[in-house]
Symmetry: C2
Subunit: 275 residues, 2 copies
């Protein structure tokens, strides 16, 4: 039973940073990943739409008998986590609460920056959760939707991207933050550039990496770690968008060319594997 | 209801490093701490004895209506966690599983060192749990009971302590580790010296700090965070040993002179507050 996969969902390729952390921290655990690349980005969409698309991905994975679900997308976590938790009988882990916990562990001066999509910033999910845990914390938020496009266009290493990132993050110059939450799962793919701009006194918090610690804790608590790592099944990746483009990006970020990527069609009855 | 305290137990003063992390990461949450200083160290004691002493501390705290229990001691976690989990109806968090998760998050080369008491090393709790999660991990363990005595004797900053620590840790010189788990809650009080000896390429994992992330996650999952932080009750500290000595050390490590420390008598019916 416990050899079942853990499911990961994202609006596109960003959640691959969370899957990457899972493969690194929990290599015995099988990854099933769905990226809704055809309908990304979720950031500017209304909450109801994000909720609907998220459920389509979840329904597909639940039929594949996953033992746990990770919402590897901040926008979908903000929009759908309570609903998914209420209706699913498997554990559901989002990325916002782990990001909050990682930030509170990292900060010394209690001044915390958050970069995210417009949707996540508007929801104030990070600011509310941080202040709920510690009302002395001061949060500075900045929407950086351009960063998502840089990653999805495979432009992370371009000089133009570095300039744009430096220009955007200049916002934090007078904020005295010692911790910056990467509040979108795309952003760890830009962590070297972001780290250089922010300087070594600012700790970057990868919400996805902390979320995988949370997954690991849940596997312990429920005693559902993979009991047969020797016969570990192969990981499976699905995208609603272009398979080749997804394969190119995911292979690069996971440093693995041998990925099993398949296309999902968007139908009136949900996401379906194409014959 | 949720303004109840979280209980912390340790064989002595070491668990103060875990309480310190709780006060830093979760300042709204009230700390009740019991240190069994009169019977420390637990490291060399038989498991049955550690179990008995641990239950005496737990029984005292449960009567004080704690909402969660943190075993802020690796030796007691190794000896008593399953029994406490089975018999208590509040969540119980140990420090070993969090230390394991923190190490797997930190390591890149999968060569992990663990320093702990003789009891924890002998139990192989860390090595077993690390290999359970990732069978490519290589673990090097070293018992450092002397480090506990250095801390309890308030000698952390002495030149003799620095020499002893460097001599002991020379064991890891040819082990190529990139991560060192501080597998005893006393050891974060020596982290600057240990960090200097190990060099900047080795990440030190403070199991207690990760354990508090776990506490934070559990508060979220069960929705039992303190709902009235404005009227937060005062923390309470108890020791079976000398109150003045405990106060001196705890005040220093918590950077707070205004601690409420009381003595607990060891009686045939358990630990009792003295009149």
């Amino acid at each position: 039973m416990t050899s079942q996969a853990i499911g990961y969902i994202d609006s596109g390729i960003g959640g691959i940073t969370v899957a990457r952390e899972a493969l690194r921290q929990l290599p015995h655990e099988v990854v099933y990943y769905v990226g809704d690349t055809a309908r990304m980005p979720y950031g500017p969409r209304p909450k109801e739409e994000v909720l609907k698309y998220t459920w389509e991905m979840v329904d597909f994975l639940v039929k594949k008998d996953i033992k746990m679900l990770v919402i590897a997308c901040n926008t979908a976590t903000a929009a759908a986590l309570p609903d998914l938790r209420a209706k699913l009988d498997i554990p559901v882990i989002g990325v916002i609460a782990p990001g909050v916990r990682g930030a509170l562990r990292a900060t010394n001066n209690k001044k915390i920056g958050v970069i995210a999509t417009a949707g996540t910033v508007k929801s104030e999910a990070y600011a509310k959760a941080l202040e709920h845990k510690d009302n002395a914390v001061r949060v500075s938020q900045l929407a950086c939707p351009e960063f998502v496009q840089i990653v999805e266009a495979n432009q992370s290493d371009s000089p133009a991207a570095a300039t744009l990132i430096a220009d955007k993050l200049a916002y934090f110059a007078d904020k005295d933050i010692d911790t910056l939450v990467l509040g979108c799962t795309h952003f760890p793919l830009l962590d070297q550039t972001i780290g250089k701009v922010m300087g070594e006194k600012v700790t970057l918090v990868n919400s996805g990496a902390v979320a995988i610690e949370n997954v690991s804790a849940m596997l312990d608590e429920l005693n559902i770690s993979n009991s047969d790592p020797i016969n570990r099944a192969k990981d499976e990746y699905y995208t609603t968008g272009d398979v080749t483009a997804f394969h190119t990006l995911a292979s690069r970020w996971l440093n693995n060319d041998d990925l099993n990527v398949q296309h999902l069609a968007m139908t009136s009855t949900g996401l379906k594997l194409e014959d």
